[in-house]
Amino acid sequence: MEFRDNKAIYLQIVEYVCEHILLGKWKADEKVPSVREMAVALEVNPNTVMRTYELLQNKNIINNKRGIGFFVAENAIEGVKSYRKVQFMDDELPVVFRNIYLLNIGFDELKTKYETFVKENFNA
């Protein structure tokens, strides 16, 4: 995994795990790699991975089954989505809003753009 420069490593690992869950690589009730395995695979300090797993536990994305390890939570996908939503709202939306404001883009224009985008990409 390539780490980017601009975000704390433990959060980048959170995204990495979320990505795996959303893409269905790790399914509900499946075991996720142990802290050590994850640290070795990503060449990071196990304490960093521990911090990641604590955050994921707080967001109900993974569970700690005592003595066995960490497992993907029953409704992990919802957890991921709500976590991502907050992230998006807090981090990415302000940048978009800033551009919308600076470039004087109207909401109607945005709405049509959005609908075509969804149609083209997701056939919804």
């Binding site: 780490f3 420069d5 601009n6 704390a8 304490n47």
Partner: protein
């Protein structure tokens, strides 16, 4: 694990290297020891290993005074110096002669580490390159199951794949009961491994803080222009790489090189943040 109290040390009376240095290190961490050339990184490590003696102050490693060089402590220390020596024998002969001193030595783990590092066991140590020898002593040192691991510039002389192998091995070697101290100039080789930064400057510890603590207090980011809130900045392709107080609870990635230069340049501004 380690208690340093009012340590005074220097190679001559007139040029002290450490003045009243105090610090505590605990297990379950990988400490990154940073400092300019001559700031005393190697000397601090040697003090911890009992290879040199302090002029005054106390030093306690796992309850022992390292200066006494007692076997019970020595078998719990794995010291990987920057320059090292290995006798001209085969690896297994070396292990047969040295491993019995360490009652917890794990032969299977040693074999696994050599495999991971791509070192053929039957090779004679004298025919190996610097990097290969270094990997052998790192593997041996870790296989002793020592609780205190001290490494002086461990990635020096390792090629690119070996550096990645080294990071993987260190990530797996870090356990709750171990304390790992790595001194390095090659910050980029190790910055994701280090969880606590110790920086030496001007005869003392200029900074000792966990990565989490640092990124809670400071934010590292690219900016277009410099303003008053920025403590330190370096020009880059697209503006500046800057360090500033973390007012908005941003979760930025610690840029260790930038932090290093920032502290050297603006020590006064950092002092109040970390006390």
């Amino acid at each position: 694990m380690i208690k340093i109290n009012n340590l005074n040390f220097g190679y001559s009376k007139h040029k002290p290297l450490f003045k009243n240095m105090s610090m505590q290190l605990s297990n379950g961490h990988i400490y990154g020891l940073l400092g300019k050339n001559g700031a005393g990184k190697s000397s601090l490590l040697k003090n911890l290993a009992g290879l040199v003696y302090a002029q005054s102050g106390t030093l306690e490693v796992m309850g022992f005074n390292p200066a006494k060089r007692q076997p019970a402590l020595l078998e719990q220390i794995c010291f990987i110096p920057e320059e090292f020596y290995l006798p001209s024998v085969k690896i297994d002969a070396y292990v047969r002669a040295n491993a019995p001193f360490y009652k917890n030595f794990d032969h299977q783990y040693f074999g696994n580490l050599l495999k991971e590092f791509d070192i053929p066991v039957s090779q004679k140590l004298i025919n190996m390159s610097y990097g290969q020898k270094k990997k052998v002593i790192i593997a041996f040192g870790l296989a002793t199951q020592a609780k205190l691991i001290i490494m002086d510039e461990p990635t020096n002389g390792l090629d690119i794949p070996s550096k990645a192998q080294f990071r993987k091995i260190m990530a797996s070697a870090m356990t709750e009961d171990r304390c790992i101290i790595i001194s390095t100039h090659q910050v980029r080789d190790l910055d994701n491994l280090i969880d606590t930064v110790i920086m030496l400057d001007e005869n003392d510890v200029a900074l000792k803080a966990s990565v989490q603590e640092i990124t809670e207090k400071l934010t590292f980011k690219k900016v277009k222009e410099i303003d008053d809130s920025i403590i330190y900045a370096e020009p880059s392709l697209s503006g500046y790489n800057a360090v500033m107080p973390n007012y908005h609870h941003e979760e930025s990635k610690l840029d260790m090189e930038l932090l290093f230069n920032a502290i050297l340049a603006e020590k006064v501004k950092f002092k109040p943040l970390f006390n």
